[in-house]
């Protein structure tokens, strides 16, 4: 299987997309990330990450309906694909398997 590359920030965004399944869009991801990371995140960075992952096939998009908010602009929702999910699974596996190999380390009393 080809190793799909995914950056750290992309991974965070993809996790958020998966967590907010079917309801994730720019602002909601932004809000969640700022809350989780407890630091300022620029929305443009999120947009770029989403576009790149869309090109890689990790996410799909669907367009929402028109509302009075957002200057009348429609939302673009992002949905994780099977490929995206498998990439996340693989990442998780690798991390946990390495993590589990950490012996019990004591740092003094």
């Amino acid at each position: 299987m080809k190793a799909y590359s995914i950056g750290d920030f992309e991974e965070l965004v993809l996790l958020t997309v998966a967590a907010q399944h079917d309801q994730a869009y720019g602002v909601s991801i932004h809000e969640s990330l700022e809350e989780q990371l407890a630091k300022a995140v620029n929305i443009s960075a999120i947009h770029v990450a989403l576009k790149r992952m869309e090109e890689k096939g990790f996410v799909e998009t669907r367009v929402g309906g028109i509302t009075a908010q957002r200057g009348g602009r429609r939302k673009k929702f992002y949905v994780i694909t099977a490929l995206g999910k498998s990439v996340l699974d693989r990442k998780y596996e690798v991390r946990t398997s390495i993590y589990k190999r950490i012996p019990k380390i004591f740092f003094g009393s």
């Binding site: 929305i43 200057g71 602009r73």
Partner: protein, 872 residues
């Protein structure tokens, strides 16, 4: 109403964003904005703008930025430029080094000039301030111009001329002996000033307040460093300083402390005394129209017309003459901003600068930088043969002419930027030498000055366009078909231009070389001129400030004379080497039986009977003062004085009577003219009268042996006879030499500039020659095979250039002769211009040219023809 995001950024986003991203991006950004606006509207607007800016990245753009195209082109230009540089590494480095050197020199000279032009700029009112000065007249000719004026002049003028808003006087108080606590100090830079002084000159007080100050006598304001010198601190308002003067001690109350004077003012000082002190304690009178000892400044009302004021001033003069306040004199006004560079009157507060020298330096700096640009043009165009094929190919591929011009300008830009970077390094290395040469003081800002960098950028841009444009136009103008067929030959026109540029450079070199030679000769001539007075091994000491101590001079002299190492002691009102303005001046002294008297200015000072023999001043006729014999009525005059009186021989003058200072005087002796100031200035008419009070100077001639020892002895003797008086002294020969300080400094600066100009010209010639010769390598190989000798080839290669240099000499010589005559006119005593002064520099120029050529020609002439012909 819902808040709206900033329109400008919204439009910007819509402009740049690609169609398929816009809906999402705009929607998200606006939603985010709406959410944030609930908390802090202005912050939300800022964040929105920032988000829009952050979104401006290639991925989101709705159009293709041609940036990649541009960078590709620039990268290509850079590659080609670097290749060209590497191919002719030595030539390029010469080019860059020459430019860097001339950037550095020109920038430093400009900094110096800016400082000289910045005088009085710290005083915001400066443009409205005029200084009044006196012209002494003989009929309609001006005999002397004197900076100092009569005390009532300012008040009178303010009262009678509506244009004059206010006035202030600055009455010079020199050699004040000051006592603070138990310590005594000499203070040479003090002035008595009116309260308005602080409206004229911008010195906001650090301590105390100017309101209400200086209206009463016995008030003083010190500057910061003087306050520290006297008291060791600056919070001294209310303290008292004592002035020791002829009538005893005089207490002055400190009312303020001001900042130190900036270096760029014509009137620096350390302390100011309230003007009423002059009338209260220094014997000055408010209606004194006889002694002019004060500077007077006036402030004109805003909007006063210069011409109108001059007319008023003329009327004012007529009125003063009619009221018999002045005679054979007139008051003139000069702009305060012009004083430093354009005023050369007697009794100036400080030695002033000289606009002529400054413009001369600027001109030379300009020539240096033009010379370096010329080198660039020459080298770039002479390279044209090599670049022609490249241009042809580029054109065939589809390059437009403007693109080619861009390319060559880019190369020129690269060279100039490299040079600028090097120049900054050079300036950093040379700044200390420069500051010392120009006497600017160690804390003068060069690299930390903003204008410096602006000028540097300006030079680079100027360089790019001045030196880059012509080669760019020439090189980009080649017709591709001709060039690629190989039918390219050097155009005659370009050759002609290169030659004229070389002629220009060498003419400049010749002129600079001759001028610095002449400056050197003239300075030497003046410094080594027979002075007519012996200044060797003479210590001059200042007299005690208190009159009561003066009677102790006789025992002081007695005990000194007894010492074997002391040859003599004499008293005088001034000494040679000090400015003539240190003497008294009186106009209109003439023989008692003169029928049509002239109104010339005479310089008077007192001497005792030992003075003439101590100074070895030659008596031409008559005799020295005889102590005790009618001494109060006798005078000794110099040759210049009797010349002005129209007498033919010194003997004729003896026993003549003249009248001045309200009584009759008899001439008993005539001395030979000697250079009182230095060999620089013309002889002035001088009158010596008898004077044996030790209030000014005593000159002591010491015999050979240890100078230090004798000096210690003099000091010891002085202190035992004159307690409470600081011992201050100078050596006469040193004082004489100090007068040449400015000239020597100018000479050094000028020599340095000349050296660099010559270096740059030679570098240019060397580079040009090596290039031209490089192109003729094959020709020379063939010539050698046919049988040309090394000498023959050397001559062949050098002849062209030497011819050019000869043209430069033919053009440069008349110019330099004219310049030399012009420069020498300002010296009353000048050395004789002779042919050598011109021949030697001309020979030197030819020699320099041959030298810079020979390295390359010799190498080529000696080369084995096989090497040059083998490769095809």
């Amino acid at each position: 109403m819902t808040p709206r995001p900033p329109r400008f950024f919204l439009h910007f986003l819509r402009w740049y964003c690609r169609e398929d991203y816009l809906e999402e991006m705009e929607g998200d950004l606006v939603e985010l904005f709406e959410k944030r606006a609930g908390q802090n509207l202005s912050k939300a607007r800022r964040q929105f703008g920032w988000d829009v800016v952050r979104g401006f990245r290639p991925r989101n753009l709705g159009f293709k930025l041609s940036l990649s195209n541009l960078t590709f082109m620039l990268r290509n230009h850079l590659t080609i430029a670097l290749r060209v540089f590497r191919r002719d590494l030595s030539l390029t480095s010469i080019n860059v080094a020459g430019l860097a050197l001339s950037f550095a020199i020109t920038l430093l000279i400009l900094q110096y000039a800016r400082f000289e032009f910045s005088y009085e700029s710290t005083h915001p009112q400066a443009s409205q301030i005029m200084r009044l000065t006196m012209d002494y007249l003989d009929g309609n000719t001006v005999v002397t111009q004197d900076c100092e004026t009569y005390p009532p002049l300012g008040p009178t003028m303010k009262a009678s001329l509506p244009e004059v808003e206010d006035f202030t006087r600055a009455y010079s108080l020199d050699r004040l002996l000051i006592k603070v606590g138990e310590e005594t100090f000499y203070e040479d830079k003090g002035y008595a000033a009116d309260p308005a002084f602080f409206d004229f000159f911008h010195y906001p007080l650090i301590e105390g307040s100017i309101a209400g100050a200086f209206l009463k006598p016995h008030e003083v304001i010190l500057n910061e460093s003087t306050a520290r010198r006297f008291f060791g601190r600056t919070d001294i308002v209310g303290e008292v300083v004592q002035i020791l003067h002829s009538e005893g001690e005089l207490g002055l109350k400190v009312v303020g402390v001001m900042p130190d004077c900036p270096p760029n003012t014509h009137l620096p000082f350390n302390m100011l005394v309230s003007y009423p002190t002059m009338t209260a304690s220094f014997g000055e009178k408010d209606e004194n129209w006889n002694g002019n000892n004060t500077f007077t400044y006036i402030m004109l009302r805003p909007g006063t017309q210069e011409e109108a004021f001059q007319v008023q001033l003329e009327e004012f003069n007529k009125k003063l003459v009619a009221e018999e306040k002045i005679e054979n004199e007139r008051v003139i006004a000069q702009a305060m901003e012009d004083i430093h560079l354009y005023s050369h009157k007697t009794f100036e507060a400080e030695p002033n600068g000289d606009a002529n020298s400054l413009f001369f330096l600027l001109l030379v700096a300009l020539l240096v930088i033009v010379s370096a640009y010329v080198n660039y043009v020459n080298l770039a165009t002479s390279r044209s043969v090599e670049r022609a094929k490249e241009v042809g190919i580029r054109k065939v591929i589809g390059s437009t002419r403007s693109q080619l011009i861009g390319q060559f300008l880019f190369e020129s830009f690269l060279v100039n930027v490299l040079a600028a970077i090097m120049a900054v390094g050079l300036i950093w290395l040379g700044r200390e030498v420069f500051l010392e040469l120009t006497d600017l003081g160690a804390d003068f800002a060069i690299l930390s000055d903003q204008v410096f960098w602006l000028m540097l950028v300006g030079f680079v841009l100027l360089g790019v366009f001045l030196s880059g444009l012509y080669p760019a136009l020439v090189l980009s103008g080649f017709a591709p078909a001709l060039v690629l067929k190989g039918k390219f030959s050097r155009s005659g026109k370009g050759l002609w231009l290169r030659k004229s540029l070389v002629i220009f450079q060498f003419a400049v070199t010749l002129i600079l070389l001759t001028q610095s030679f002449i400056v050197y000769q003239q300075l030497n001539y003046m410094r080594e001129k027979e002075l007519g007075v012996n200044i060797d091994r003479t210590v001059v000491i200042n007299g005690p400030a208190l009159d009561s101590l003066q009677k102790r001079f006789v025992p002081f002299k007695q005990s000194l004379i007894q010492q074997p190492q002391i040859e003599g002691v004499a008293i005088s009102g001034t000494v040679p080497g000090l400015p003539v303005s240190d003497m008294n001046t009186t106009t209109g002294i003439h023989l008692a039986d003169e029928l049509n008297p002239r109104n010339n200015n005479f310089y008077l000072t007192g001497i005792d009977s030992a003075y003439l023999s101590l100074m070895e001043i030659k008596l031409l006729a008559g005799e020295n003062f005889q102590a005790g014999n009618l001494k109060g009525r006798n005078i000794i005059v110099n040759e210049e004085a009797i010349r002005q009186w129209g007498l033919q021989s010194p003997e004729e003058a003896i026993q003549k009577t003249v009248k001045f200072w309200g009584r009759k005087w008899q001439v008993v002796g005539v001395i030979q003219n000697y250079h009182h100031e230095s060999g620089k200035s013309a002889h002035v008419p001088m009158i010596f009268y008898y004077f044996d009070e030790f209030s000014e100077y005593a000159s002591i001639r010491i015999s050979g042996g240890e100078v230090e020892e004798s000096l210690a002895l003099i000091e010891q003797t002085f202190e035992s006879h004159f307690p409470f008086t600081p011992f201050s002294y100078f050596f006469l020969d040193q004082r004489y030499d100090e007068q040449f300080k400015a000239d020597l400094q100018f000479q050094k600066l000028f020599n340095l500039l000349t050296g660099f100009a010559i270096l740059i010209a030679c570098l240019g010639l060397f580079a040009l020659a090596s290039f031209v010769i490089h192109q003729r390598t094959k020709e020379i190989g063939i010539r050698k095979i046919i049988g040309a000798s090394t000498r023959h080839i050397m001559v062949l290669l050098t002849r062209d250039f030497i011819q050019t240099v000869m043209w430069a000499i033919v053009i440069g010589l008349p110019l330099t002769y004219w310049l030399a005559e012009f420069w020498l006119t300002r010296f009353p005593f000048r050395f004789e211009l002779n042919a050598w002064v011109f021949v030697l520099p001309a020979l030197a120029v030819v020699l320099l040219a041959i030298l810079s050529l020979s390295v390359k020609t010799l190498k080529t002439a000696l080369a084995n023809p096989v090497d040059s012909l083998r490769a095809e």
